[in-house]
């Protein structure tokens, strides 16, 4: 050992700890029924298989525990693995769940909201916090701003609102748990409210999208009729139907007469 440490100053630096922030999708679980979970997970993934392939994931147990549900983390992880997702963390779990997660080599994260349950606080004492922390940014209120074009083959995922100033090319995919704003031409696929937020909206300057979706309700290019194409629109969900409307609200729909 001592010989080794003497060598240390001469050998080049082999590693370095750095702190950085990632955007990782969070899977909020609201049921203890594994069959239902598996089925709904499959449905969600089928909307954007490319996006979810090998995607990291943080499991959020808050809802489950609020309702006092019981769920087997090992079985859950199994389902998620089979769906092609890779859990890299758990949050809001109780002692039992966190312990199970650690046995599966899934790190435990604390929730940085004010409502930390006593259980998770207790948990903190037995959970080794990695130092320095790689803080997983799951703050839904933050928005992501993008100024570069999103090209064919590129994918963007935002946990909060997604604001894009450049164009989104055909063959590109943008997803957000919140709203999507594209202040340019939207030619690719845009999916807002991907975690089920039915209040999410899509705004764009020039609609030429291949697919638009809000909380899983989608329309493909073929479904978009000429009255909504090539102009600024907003898209929202009303009674489970996608509504596409001019952003500029004209009085008494006179706008249609102009063209």
């Amino acid at each position: 050992m001592s010989i080794d440490s003497q060598k240390m100053p001469n050998s080049p630096l082999a590693l370095e700890f750095k702190s950085s922030t990632f955007s990782v999708p969070v899977l909020v679980l609201c049921s203890e029924d594994l069959v239902v979970i598996e089925q709904q997970l499959k449905e969600k993934i089928s909307l954007a298989p490319e996006f979810f392939r090998n995607s990291p994931l943080v499991l959020d147990m808050q809802e489950i525990n609020k309702h006092g549900y019981d769920i087997d983390i090992a079985a859950l992880t199994d389902i998620i693995h089979k769906a092609g997702l890779l859990p890299i963390g758990i949050r809001g779990g109780n002692i039992q769940q966190n312990k199970q997660a650690l046995e599966l080599l899934i790190p435990v994260y604390s929730i940085h909201s004010s409502s930390v349950s006593t259980e998770t606080q207790k948990q903190k004492t037995i959970t080794p916090t990695p130092e320095p922390t790689a803080d997983i940014d799951t703050d839904v209120t933050t928005s992501t701003l993008i100024t570069q074009p999103i090209r064919s083959g590129q994918r963007i995922y935002a946990t909060g609102d997604l604001v894009i100033l450049a164009q989104v090319s055909a063959g590109a995919e943008i997803m957000s748990e919140g709203n999507i704003h594209v202040y340019n031409t939207l030619r690719g696929r845009a999916l807002a409210g991907v975690q089920g937020n039915t209040e999410a909206r899509i705004f764009c300057f020039d609609l030429q999208a291949e697919l638009i979706s809000i909380a899983g309700n989608y329309k493909v290019s073929e479904d978009l009729d000429e009255t909504v194409r090539n102009k600024p629109v907003q898209i929202y969900l009303q009674d489970q139907a996608l509504i596409i409307k001019d952003i500029v609200q004209h009085h008494k729909n006179h706008s249609r007469n102009i063209r």
């Binding site: 074009p149 090209r151 083959g153 450049a166 090319s169």
Partner: protein, 245 residues
């Protein structure tokens, strides 16, 4: 060739391992002894492998290997060769193979500037868009969070007549899809075929339209302000003017 003719020492590297043809186009295929892969593997020095162009003594070519496959290139090896070339050359042009595989990835990885050459067809433009996405996300500059690669658009095999007939995308269509700085338009021209058959780059054929288009492009890249000459249908314009048809 254009850069070298303007007095800048320039090296061209062919990244199309397995399908080398740059040396054919440059007319130096009969002088190839060593290639890019030999240099990366340390089987030859750069000086041994670089071929000086017969028309211009500021231009050097590093040919691709015809016998190896693309796995013979490594990021580290390419980086080393480029670092060495940088000491001696003002410009290093990396000719990327088509596609998004390893050869293309390595050709663009270390780039400072990128020239995306596209044909005025939907599929070609879409592929270019894809390449631009890779430039913006997978290049060294992107990975190291540096200032992004400067991207330029070259539109080639352009034919204003066919655009008019609706058989080809127009400059505006392409610009609209890619929203990229247009460095130049090269017209569809027989001179290109003649040039590649005879192994003399078309830019040396100063009378040809394509040669002039490339000369303009090089000048613009170096900061000169030149009007675009090959976007509009000149012949058609005169034809209309004289009322003959």
């Amino acid at each position: 060739m254009g850069l070298a003719k303007k007095g800048h020492k320039t090296a061209v590297i062919d990244f199309d391992v397995g399908l080398r043809n740059l040396d054919l186009i440059m007319g130096c295929e009969r002088r190839v002894v060593y290639d890019f892969v030999n240099v990366i593997n340390g089987e030859a020095t750069l000086n041994q492998a670089l071929i000086r162009d017969k028309n211009c003594n500021l231009l050097y070519i590093l040919p691709a290997s015809q016998t190896r496959d693309k796995d013979a290139l490594s990021q580290e090896g390419v980086g080393k060769v480029l670092d060495e070339l940088k000491k001696d050359f003002k410009y290093i042009v990396c000719d990327s193979p088509a596609g998004i595989e390893k050869g293309a990835h390595l050709a663009m990885y270390f780039a400072d500037d990128a020239f995306v050459v596209t044909n005025p067809e939907v599929s070609s433009v879409r592929d270019s868009d894809r390449m631009l996405g890779i430039l913006a996300s997978k290049s060294r500059r992107a990975v190291d969070n540096e200032e992004p690669i400067k991207e330029y658009l070259l539109l080639t095999r352009y034919s204003p007549e066919r655009v008019k007939l609706g058989e080809m995308l127009s400059v505006d269509d392409v610009q609209d899809i890619l929203s990229l700085h247009l460095l130049g338009v090269i017209p569809e021209s027989k001179s290109v075929l003649n040039a590649s058959n005879s192994g003399t780059p078309v830019i040396l054929d100063e009378k040809s339209d394509a040669g002039q288009a490339y000369a303009d492009i090089v000048a613009r890249y170096l900061g000169e302000n030149r009007p675009h000459r090959f976007i509009d249908d000149k012949k058609g314009f005169f034809r209309n003017l004289f009322g003959s048809k």
